[in-house]
């Protein structure tokens, strides 16, 4: 990072925080602090929803995911438009008319207090863990760039985010998200253009796309069905739909966004904007990762992208042989790549096939060398499941992007994290105060509950910072954050499906169903190889099935059923 990069970075961050705080003035009541007085326009909510989901993890890890596994991760988002349509038609008007602060508040009106408490606890566990991962990602950035220990950078990020969230409330979070998304879009565009410009002069954009395809990095759709395969069109459409139904319908960090809307129509538009924009955005980010891969076909990448681990294994006696193999494999791959480009230019199909075969053999050698290096890391005291996927894009940015743009990209990552973390911590504080504290100590003044919200924000910020240290052990962050979510979302979704769709099911049946759903999910996680995208389907099905069975075989349990929460006129 040079002086200009620091200027760009500091200016971007200060302006974002200052603008958010400026727009949040007057957040002195619970309604304003937690729901912005239900005054937000749809475009602000839409960008805030997008920014909350597109944390730094999206940029750091998704590009790395594309580098190592191609673009098939995009299928994960195919269920999102379906989920958004269902939620816009069902949950949004329901929550708006019920005038609730949290999604779980509705459950007490529909079922009973214990169901609300259990759902709130499930949310607090899940989102608390995810908040740690969200803070860990930018801490990773700082540690790579500044060479600081990750613990210190985690603490620095945590303190910044917490102080900003405590002061501003949801209005600050939402308006700073708007600005952050503008910077994010700009940063993405500049990154892609720069990657393409940095390719060798003899390689056109068309050649780069051809090479990415030949290397298997443009596999956006895979149609084969496999329970154990994380990303294919079926898991994306079905598992993804369930995951996003849970995320946007039952997760307070998202529900709180569209509860701030002026009207049902404004909230619906904010969700539907995401239905339209999210897949192209993810496609774009994954494409950047694929282009970074093509760039490294011509410029030798480091054996490991995490330079601290690389430095550690360089002293091992086995290292020179691994590095030598890697060097030879890279030279062979580069030669095959150049020959492939020539054959492509000449339109020589047979030569193209031959060179692709040669390329693949060289790629296998590279993969083997990297695997050996990872094993060296493990043997020399590194993490058990070492993965440098999260470092690939950052390594590229800091080493090859021109001065000024490095600062911009780092600002994008920071901005995204600040918005995602602050939103998560804000929603955790909301559930803690509204669904827990206010029920224990009802009848206090508005000022008291605002103060309690600020204290709760502080608590959850500290919790997230402490948990962040665990993030490193979970492999690619973008996957880790969704795995954590999937462990809990299925039960929450099942609970809301029962609330909206099955009026005869009562609170006790739902409560037992949720416990059974959680048990089923953790059983699948611990004892099977079923992909995590299916956990949401399994959890939801077990909750609904169990509750229906209890209600059917024990009609007395339905006696606890309350009528549906009426629409306030």
């Amino acid at each position: 990072m040079r002086t200009l990069d620091w200027i760009v970075l500091v200016t971007s961050l200060v302006s974002i925080v200052a603008y958010g705080l400026y727009r949040s003035r007057g957040s002195d009541t619970v309604d304003r602090y937690l729901l912005a007085g239900r005054s937000m326009p749809w475009y602000a909510m839409a960008l805030s929803i997008m920014a909350t989901q597109a944390s730094a993890i999206t940029f750091i890890s998704t590009t790395g995911q594309s580098y190592v596994d191609g673009m098939r991760f995009v299928q994960f988002y195919f269920g999102l438009p379906i989920a958004m349509v269902i939620l816009s038609a069902t949950v949004v008007p329901l929550f708006h008319h019920a005038k609730v602060y949290t999604a779980y508040e509705y459950l007490e009106k529909r079922f009973d207090g214990k169901t609300r408490t259990l759902a709130s606890l499930i949310f607090l566990c899940q989102r608390g863990l995810s908040a740690g991962l969200t803070i860990y990602a930018p801490a990773l950035v700082l540690s790579v760039i500044l060479g600081w220990p990750e613990r210190n950078t985690t603490l620095l990020m945590g303190v910044t985010v917490v102080s900003y969230t405590v002061l501003g409330g949801i209005k600050a979070v939402t308006w700073s998200d708007v600005q952050q998304m503008c910077i994010i879009f700009l940063g993405l565009l500049v990154s892609l253009i720069t990657v393409i410009v940095l390719l060798p002069k003899t390689v056109s954009f068309g050649d780069a796309v051809f090479l990415a395809g030949a290397a298997g990095r443009l596999n956006a759709v895979t149609t084969n069905f496999d329970w154990n395969d994380r990303f294919n069109i079926w898991s994306g459409l079905l598992g993804g739909t369930f995951l996003f139904l849970s995320y946007f319908g039952c997760d307070q960090s998202q529900v709180q966004r569209y509860l701030t809307g002026k009207s049902v129509a404004q909230s619906r538009l904010s969700l539907l904007f995401n239905a339209v924009a999210k897949i192209p955005m993810q496609f774009f980010i994954l494409f950047i990762g694929a282009m970074v891969f093509v760039f490294y076909l011509f410029i030798q990448p480091p054996l490991l992208f995490e330079h601290t681990e690389l430095a550690r294994i360089q002293g091992r006696i086995e290292y020179p042989a691994v590095a030598d193999n890697y060097q030879r494999a890279f030279d062979r791959r580069k030669q095959a790549t150049m020959a492939l480009v020539d054959a492509h230019h000449q339109g020589n199909g047979a030569a193209v096939e031959r060179e692709i075969g040669e390329y693949r053999q060289a790629q296998r050698q590279i993969d083997d060398a990297r695997t050996q290096a990872s094993q060296l890391v493990t043997r020399s005291g590194g993490g058990k499941d070492f993965s440098d996927t999260n470092y690939i894009f950052l390594s590229f940015v800091t080493k090859y992007l021109p001065v000024g743009i490095v600062g911009l990209v780092i600002a994008v990552i920071f901005a995204a994290t600040m918005s995602a973390s602050s939103g998560e911590i804000n929603s955790l504080a909301t559930v803690t105060v509204v669904d827990m504290y206010r029920r224990i100590r009802p009848g206090e003044s508005d000022h008291h509950y605002v103060l309690a919200s600020r204290v709760a924000t502080l608590f959850w910020g500290a919790y997230a910072v402490l948990f962040a240290g665990w993030g490193k052990r979970l492999g690619p962050l973008i996957v880790a954050v969704n795995v954590v979510g999937s462990l809990f979302y299925g039960s929450l979704l099942g609970c809301f499906v029962l609330a909206f769709g099955f009026r005869k099911v009562g609170g006790t049946a739902t409560f037992v169903g949720m416990l059974a759903g959680e048990a089923a999910i953790f059983w699948a996680f611990k004892f099977t190889n079923i992909s995590w995208l299916w956990y949401n389907v399994i959890g939801c099905a077990v909750v609904v099935g169990t509750a229906l069975a209890i209600t059917y075989f024990s009609p007395a349990s339905a006696a606890t059923t309350r009528p549906h929460t009426p629409l306030p006129e």
């Binding site: 395809g213 443009l218 129509a265």
Partner: protein, 85 residues
């Protein structure tokens, strides 16, 4: 107005499981008292409760347009994958 959307689609001579399903989904067709699938087919609340969308006239048309858009995106991604495989 009463009854379930499932009453119209299930066979007249129902099995116990079907009767059980009916039992749980028998709802009135106004306000909030809909099974969740019903929302996909019909607007969830009477039109006078909600603002119309700024385009396409009704929310139902907007939802349909988005699902068509999803189909187009998947088809385009599939063709993209095949073209560069």
């Amino acid at each position: 107005m009463g009854g379930s959307i499932l009453n119209a689609t299930l066979p007249p001579k129902s099995f116990p499981a079907v009767r059980a399903l009916r039992r749980f989904t028998r709802v009135e067709t106004t306000g909030l008292r809909h099974p969740i699938l019903y929302y996909v087919l019909m607007p969830p609340v009477p039109p006078d409760h909600d603002d119309p969308p700024p385009f396409l006239g009704t929310w139902r048309r907007v939802y349909t347009a988005i699902l068509i858009y999803l189909g187009a995106i998947i088809a385009a991604s599939y063709l993209f994958t095949r073209a560069y495989r």
